[in-house]
Symmetry: C2
Subunit: 172 residues, 2 copies
Amino acid sequence: MPNLVKQKNAAGKLIEFNMVKHTADEIYHRTHADKGEHQSLFQGQGKILLALSQTDGLSQKDLATSLNLTAQSTAEFVNKLVKKHLVTKEKSTTDRRKTIIRLTDAGRKSAGKESAKVPAYLKGLSDTELDQLATILTKMNDSLYDEISTANPTWYSNFRNSITDRLRDWFL
Amino acid sequence: MPNLVKQKNAAGKLIEFNMVKHTADEIYHRTHADKGEHQSLFQGQGKILLALSQTDGLSQKDLATSLNLTAQSTAEFVNKLVKKHLVTKEKSTTDRRKTIIRLTDAGRKSAGKESAKVPAYLKGLSDTELDQLATILTKMNDSLYDEISTANPTWYSNFRNSITDRLRDWFL
DNA sequence: CAAATTAATCAGGGGGCCTTATGATATATT
DNA sequence: AATATATCATAAGGCCCCCTGATTAATTTG
């Protein structure tokens, strides 16, 4: 039976990590403000870009369902990206209700550039610690996947797909 | 010299964790939408509430600087909280430029209910793993604190204070 | 007292999301 | 063919998180 004190301790550290990381990211954005490019890659416009960089030429609807967004939100983000010349919209010829979204060169570049870089805060860990961390995170992730799939099976499968796509750069 | 493969592996797992946790949280909000109360405690209105629950009766300016927000953002959140009857505004008598913000009873209650609960995904870890995790997170956090303090010393000190306040419940 | 500084507000903007309505196109039914 | 229904996208409106710039009111300083 697990020690509650240890659990609480770890939980606190995790919360702390989230907070610290959050503000570190904020500072990074403000400093490195490459003219307003702070897509978090997991959200909004960044999400769309990422999805397209895996499979270009999706319809808005496809994007919406695969990203668990409403069609409306998707339209909004796509329009914003169009304004920035990162994607293009064109009507599908086979089904003229559909709008096909394609990455521009700039878009492709922008999507790819959150390159698979190892964050500095991992560089201070020993090999053993890195292994431990990976093992632990795997367990935690599985637990969260479980939570998601029981709460919302639909989301789960969409999510699972997009996640493996997005993590392809990291493993193997 | 640390193994780059191990670093990458751990980094990937961490990203995965962030993504999974993100959507788990989203689902939680949508499901448990207790009449639109999703303050994330680390942001916006929740941040203000938390700060006031540590030290009531701060001025807007005090709030802004201690939370690393602009005066304008602070005003916005405060006004929203006033509308919800969670805080009150009153002009300071000693310096009539200042506006003192105070928690209402409802506000105090709302702030306190962040429930220092151990998340489910930690419950599956053994005592050893919990210790390992805590140790590792401590290192990562220190590394991030470093990053923050060199990038923005001002933020650092403000942040450091508010973080210890906020984590008080976790480490006794 | 005039000037400088400080606290707060107004106006406006950029992100992230959703719901409700509507219009347009496609497909199924009669 | 003609009508009904289902699907894709848009428009409009809301709420949340946050910032920059300009302006007003009160206090401190020279």
